[in-house]
């Protein structure tokens, strides 16, 4: 009795197997001209994509590495690419030495932040404090966060909702200008506002 159904049932399983797991992965050139790397790991093998438009095509039986044409990318991913959020943009603010006052150039940057937020559908910002290489990591982490919080309160005073603003203290990990340890450098004492 059961044997009669074995044939059709087995065929159905094979059909389902063919219809699943068909992947296409395409590496794109970065906006900055750099091409990154994606490693596609699959039971059929590992494929490294590290050139512009390199593609990995996976079926149940194999993985094939070749190149995708720009036409193919446009026809498969056109709508998806159009939905990409705008790239984040950073503004950098400096303080007049020894004061809470922004430099004149930094006041113009603040206007740029507001204009950039107005251009985005759901703008959010991160205010990131940075320090120079003078002092310990612990001190600089605290100081950089303190700077970021001060700038956040200024932004809130300009009418930006506090719910849209995150603060971060990056300490001395990301200097604008490389210096030796212990060096006081005004260009590194800055606050970056990243709008996304």
């Amino acid at each position: 009795m059961h044997a009669r159904y074995l044939g059709p049932l087995a065929a159905l399983l094979v059909l389902c197997g063919c219809a699943t797991s068909r992947d296409l992965v395409v590496l794109l050139p970065g906006k900055d001209g750099k091409v990154g790397k994606v490693i596609v790991d699959n039971p059929k093998g590992e494929t490294v994509l590290d050139t512009a438009y390199a593609a990995a095509r996976t079926t149940d039986n194999n993985v094939r590495r070749d190149k995708a044409s720009q036409n193919e990318v446009q026809s498969i991913f056109g709508e998806t690419l159009e939905a990409m959020p705008p790239r984040p943009i950073s503004f950098t603010l400096y303080f007049e030495s020894g004061t809470d006052e922004f430099t004149e150039a930094s006041k113009r940057e603040l206007k740029g932040v507001l204009a950039e937020m107005a251009r985005r559908p759901a703008p959010e910002i991160t205010v990131i404090g940075h320090t120079d290489q003078a002092g310990t990591d612990q001190m600089n982490d605290a100081l950089s966060l303190q700077r970021a919080r001060r700038v956040k309160s200024i932004l809130v005073g300009m009418g930006i909702s506090p719910g849209r603003i995150l603060t971060a203290g990056r300490g001395r990990r990301e200097p604008l200008v490389r210096t030796a340890d212990g060096v006081s450098e005004p260009r590194n004492r800055r606050v970056e506002i990243s709008v996304r």
């Binding site: 797991s21 990154g36 790397k37 994606v38 991913f77 998806t80 690419l81 959010e124 995150l166």
Partner: protein, 112 residues
């Protein structure tokens, strides 16, 4: 399009905040763009299902973890600070593959 959070379905609109483990589901005429606090950017095409499985980002050290799964449809990715800091911290899964992200921009389609 809608979100699935803890088994419950809720409508999503521009500005909706996502949480780790949320799933984004788009219909035939739906697409979604997502910005992350490490400046990673994603977009999901029509007829797609994407789960944000794990997301953590330390804004001081830039260490973090970012795991997503595309079970159906199309995905566009521009990686952010997490992948830049730690080459193995960002993974995109499909039902058959795991993509290790070493930076920048790529596209994924799964199913068919």
């Amino acid at each position: 399009m809608y979100l699935e959070r803890s088994g419950k379905r809720s409508p999503a609109h521009v500005g909706t905040h996502l949480q780790a483990t949320d799933t984004v589901v788009t219909g035939a005429d739906g697409v979604a763009g997502i910005t992350f606090i490490d400046n990673s950017l994603l977009s999901v095409g029509p007829n797609s299902v994407l789960q944000i499985e794990r997301y953590a980002f330390n804004s001081t050290t830039h260490e973090g973890v970012f795991d997503t799964t595309l079970t159906r449809g199309t995905l566009s990715v521009v990686s952010g600070k997490i992948a830049k800091q730690s080459p193995d911290a960002m993974k995109v899964r499909t039902p058959s593959s795991i993509l290790g992200v070493r930076g920048t921009e790529f596209l994924v389609r799964t199913g068919e």
